[in-house]
Amino acid sequence: MKQIDRKSEVYARVLDIQRMSTEDGPGIRTTIFFKGCTLKCTWCHNPESISALPQVHWIDSRCIGCRNCLNTCPKDAIVFESTGITINRKRCDGCGQCADRCPSTAMSYLGSLWDVDALFSEAMKDRVYYEKSGGGITISGGEPTLQFYAAVKLFKQLHEAGIHTAIDTCGLYPSQSLFQLLPYTDMILYDIKEMDPNRHKKFTGHSNKTILKNLMDLSNYIANHHLQKTLWIRTPIIPNATATPENIIAIGNFLAKHLNGFVSRWDLCAFNNLCKDKYLRLGLNWSFKNAELLTEECMVELADIAKTSGVDPDLVQWSGMTQQFKIERKYAV
């Protein structure tokens, strides 16, 4: 990752840049993951994206045991134990010196600062593939609107260059921020996780009140300004949390009632547990560490429920990993 160029005032704290992404909107895309989120979902599969501050983590399979990191750390935050390296998160301030000195990138730095101009150049490298596939750039996170100025500058440049832009948002943002991004945004991927405000708060740390209001404001704004924007709704299907028929029906009802004609796709995304190790590396306890994947039957059933919840059944799709030896597939009518 490139270091910040101080000449520019606008920069972004970026967790990762994923090229040839095929899952974050139409066509072939480059997805830029901004670090920092307004929600703190208990099931989050990108836990390193929650904190807005830079972090380091240690990948044991890459470590060659040189202990450069221990000797470098100015805060004595790195402990070498029989099980490997542990980072004392209370002491670590994310300075990243250990990652600089690590020869094998076992200790790696999460949240490099990117100058927006550099980010733009990086995004333009796959232009040909966007053009051939109807793809473009997706900013995701985290919550990308948290780095509002960077997002606006980047999208403005991309739009001038004729690149399709999409934002993947959790919906919790000051409502004006998305309106200001809208002129340079072609598509919004919007999460509705849970309709019950109390359960939403329990799962994510926040009520869904603002999220739902923001969504309705957004659709009104689009309607009032006669804008052409694509809106996809995404619902994570989490066992013992959002994966209930009641929740799916409630979301469906809400979409039918308030967003009829505005949504072009509703994705049910199955819970996945591949991020288990990420929690370990960040020294976090994950309440889903023992959770099983959902069955395909369960996903099919919820998708069927979604289709009868009042929305246009053609909008409903499901995807993701299901229990062993079940087929991963998209589901549509």
Binding site: R62, K132, L274, K330
Partner: protein, 840 residues
């Protein structure tokens, strides 16, 4: 899609389909291998002289694992060789005439003719080792040049065991003028040869030129005499045949064989029959099965025959049946070493390529009905090794073709074909035309007729021998010599005798690398060593090229390559109009990454001194693990679409390719040209060469062809592709400033590129569309040829064991990506289990 059925079939092991009982039987019979009553294994024939030899080791100089068996092979074929009765005047004939006569005699009167049950194509046995037909004096001369002091054998061993690579005058790897042979028949070819001969003065008729034409005329009658034998056989079989349908087929075959390949072909069946015999006799002529003897654009030159037969009532299915028989015949090349080779002789080493689709005149796409028929045949017959299909794509390739291509990739374990990309390939051919003053032979109005041979090596058709696999040079050797000022870093040894080569000043005397104060100084010295290793390769190649040109004519093949008759020169003497030999570097990315690492470690970041780096390499990184990890993981790498890294890659590419153009063979005036194929040498030579500055220890593989080093392409397929296009030359701003329009390409022979995808990339219709778009993007940004592999459980298991080699391996689950090696063992096992059960 969206139906469970279609998803379930997605990642299952591919099996053949839609095979008639006839083809099913032929296919099953073929795979019985050594249990077959019939096979096509090598048979040797001799003139009966005590000095006679059949096995030509020159052909195997590019197969180093054979070096230790040269003596054994030579004597074993000699011992088993059947004597051929010679006419009284035999030894009065010239060498090419003797060879032509001898081979014809063997093929027509000594090798049995057989037809398998149900087969629609005649032409069974062709794997032979025939006598060199040398006089005693010639045999002595040859032996001295080969095995004497500083002979070709000593030279090649020095070259290989000291880590330079390998090289040798090898056969095959070309596309003969099949179209002409079908259109005018051997009758027409013979008549042309005769009129050329008659036009010569008396003295010229008696000169080597006249003798060569005489030899070619003898060869030109071989197909006729052989097909007549097969016609008689078909007639005999038809008389004994009880099944009426088969009886009619055999009678039809007899009629075909009485006519072709001597007369011009008219029907599709005749054309395919003639094509097979014409092709198979090249392998007999060269005494080598299937070494990249390729067919070219069969969907173009067979199309008129296809149309004619369809119009006259041949069914589509019967046409496919003929092609499928042809398919099975190409696979019998592998019978050569059916009893002695591993896996019953079935290797993936032969490359009888067919080319489909591609550009034509005025930017027209040439995809036609026959293209789709051939794709169906490929799909229905696969998995099978031969012939190897190569599909030419370009900016205007039709969606129907791309859909079919992507569907076939999705339902196979890796694509059952290679993709060739026209614009970049044609840029390479135009570069070649300019560099070799061949603009009268390769130009705007015919460059689209190019076609690949062997694996993916681009050549022109019917007049071109480009020795596409003849020179394989370890580019990394130049780094080693730069570090040491021109000496081996460590002593090398001959693995058979165990004898060490003394360390000498082999290379250029460049300054002591320890005192370089800038990367530019290092790079200047590197350029000199690079020129040296290329010179070394050219000289080593000359030894085998000279022997071949003196003692190993192939008059039959010479009839099918334009230029040989015109010049009265055998193809082995540089007779082809376009006569090149190709240098392919091994370890391109390893070399670039080594330069990048030296720049990063010693000059930019000052992680170590040059002295420390050299000591680390001498110690094979033992005791220097931190430095090694820094070199491997912190230094920049080629393959990441990183501007600076790719710019250095391009600079090296420009320098070595320019250096190659400076050379020609002395004995045959063949122009050296650059290519980028490294077959399997990148594996073996990784054990010969010492540790390299990129962090690679001795014993680890080098990089393959133009691919980034293993594990280096951490930014995925698009970044990888862009890097490949960048180092080949990229595109120019102006439409016509490139080699071909705005495309540039420094390697005319083409660059072998492989990318491995996760099957989930192709899991449904939406994703297939995205994949199709990726291929279109490759046309714009990528290289000349792409092999698409699919992730398989074995690879993932290997990744569990060697995570350091698979840091780039991405597991993609909707909305989530993770590097395979950074997820726990338990989850890795789950991903593997899913893949094994046909899921992703």
């Amino acid at each position: 899609m969206q139906s469970t059925e279609s998803t379930q079939t997605t990642h299952k092991i591919k099996t053949p389909k839609n095979l008639s009982p006839r083809i099913q039987w032929l296919r099953d019979y073929y795979f019985k291998g050594v249990d077959r009553a019939w096979n096509n294994e090598f048979t040797a024939f001799t003139t009966g002289t005590p000095w006679d030899i059949q096995y030509n080791e020159l052909t195997y100089y590019i197969v180093p694992e054979n070096y230790s068996f040269f003596q054994a092979m030579t004597s074993s074929f000699k011992q088993t060789a059947h004597p051929v009765k010679l006419p009284a005047h035999f030894w009065k004939l010239s060498l090419p005439e003797r060879v032509a006569w001898f081979n014809k005699q063997v093929m027509v009167n000594y090798l049995p003719q057989e037809i398998l049950p149900g087969d629609l194509i005649a032409g069974g046995r062709f794997n032979v080792y025939t006598s060199f037909c040398l006089t005693e004096k010639q045999a002595e001369q040859r032996q001295k040049l080969l095995a004497g002091k500083h002979g070709s054998r000593e030279q090649i061993k020095w070259f290989h065991y000291k880590g330079y690579g390998n090289c040798g005058a090898t056969c095959g790897h070309l596309i003969p003028d099949h179209q002409k042979a079908l259109q005018i028949g051997w009758k027409g070819i013979h008549a042309e040869l005769n009129s050329r001969y008659q036009a010569l003065s008396q003295s010229d008729q008696n000169s080597p030129k006249g003798k060569q034409l005489q030899a070619m005329m003898i060869s030109a009658t071989l197909p006729k005499e052989l097909s007549e034998k097969y016609a008689t056989l078909c007639n005999d079989l038809s008389l004994a045949e009880k099944n009426e349908e088969r009886k009619t087929e055999l009678q039809h075959m007899a009629r075909n064989l009485q006519k072709v390949p001597w007369e011009p072909a008219e029907t599709f069946w005749e054309a395919v029959q003639a094509l097979w015999l014409n092709h198979m006799l090249i392998m007999s002529d060269e005494n080598y099965p299937g070494p990249g003897v390729s067919f070219g654009r069969i969907d173009q030159y067979l199309l008129p025959y296809w149309k004619q037969s369809i119009a006259n009532g041949m069914t589509r299915d019967f046409g496919k049946e003929i092609l499928k028989c042809f398919w099975m015949h190409t696979n019998t090349a592998y019978d050569a070493i059916i009893r002695t080779g591993g896996n019953q002789g079935i290797t993936s080493g032969y490359g009888q390529l067919i080319t489909l689709s591609g550009l034509g005149k005025d930017d027209q796409d040439m995809t036609n009905d026959l293209t789709y028929i051939l794709l169906e045949v490929i799909d229905e017959m696969s998995p099978i090794l031969e012939p190897k299909p190569n599909i030419r794509l370009h900016q205007g390739s039709p969606d129907r073709l791309l859909d079919k291509v992507v569907d076939m990739i999705a339902t196979s374990q890796g694509a059952p074909f290679l993709l060739n990309f026209d614009e970049r390939s044609m840029a390479g051919m135009m570069r070649e035309a300019n560099k070799s003053n061949s603009l009268h032979l390769i130009h705007e109005n015919n460059v689209y007729e190019y076609s690949p041979v062997g694996c993916l090596e681009n050549t022109m058709v019917g007049n071109d021998r480009s020795g596409t696999v003849d020179n394989n040079l370890d580019l990394l050797k130049a780094i080693e010599l730069t570090l040491t000022g021109g000496k081996d870093l460590l002593p090398y040894a001959d693995p058979i005798t165990g004898k060490q080569f003394p360390i000498k000043q082999d290379g250029c005397l460049t300054s002591n690398a320890r005192y370089f104060t800038s990367f530019e100084q290092f790079f200047r010295a590197f350029k000199k060593q690079l020129a040296f290793i290329i010179q070394q390769c050219v000289e080593t190649y000359e030894a085998s090229e000279f022997i071949r040109s003196q003692f190993h004519p192939t008059p039959y093949l010479s009839c099918l390559v334009k230029g040989c008759a015109e010049k009265g020169l055998d193809i082995t003497q540089g007779g082809a109009e376009l006569s090149f030999t190709t240098i392919n570097p091994i370890g391109f990315a390893t070399t670039i990454d080594s330069l990048l690492a030296i720049k990063y470690l010693v000059f930019d970041e000052r992680v170590c001194t040059m002295k420390e780096l050299i000591n680390a390499l001498k110690a094979n990184w033992n005791g220097f693990e931190v430095l090694q990890a820094t070199a491997k993981y912190k230094a920049p790498k080629y393959g990441r679409d990183d501007h600076d890294a790719d710019a250095l890659g391009k600079k090296v590419m420009d320098i070595w390719t320019e250096e190659v153009w400076k050379h020609q063979t002395k004995s045959t005036q063949r122009q050296f040209r650059p290519g980028l194929l490294s077959w399997n040498y990148w594996v073996e030579d990784g054990y010969i060469l010492p540790a390299s500055p990129d962090g690679r220890p001795c014993g680890k593989f080098l990089s393959n062809a133009i691919c980034p080093s293993t594990g280096a392409d951490i930014y995925g397929p698009t970044a990888n592709t862009n890097s490949v296009g960048n180092v080949l030359g990229g595109r120019t701003q102006d439409k016509n400033q490139g080699d071909w329009r705005d495309y540039k390409n420094s390697v005319p022979s083409g660059a072998s590129h492989t990318i491995t995808f996760n099957p989930s990339f192709l899991k449904d219709k939406t994703h297939k569309e995205k994949f199709k778009a990726f291929l279109k993007g490759y046309t714009e940004n990528g290289g000349t040829a792409l092999q698409i592999n699919m992730l398989d459980p074995d690879m993932l298991r290997d990744a569990q064991k060697h995570p350091q080699d698979y840091r780039h391996l991405l597991v993609r689950i909707t909305g989530y990506n993770a590097y395979f090696t950074s997820i726990g063992k338990e989850l890795q096992d789950e991903v593997i289990a899913r893949l094994m059960h046909g899921n992703s």
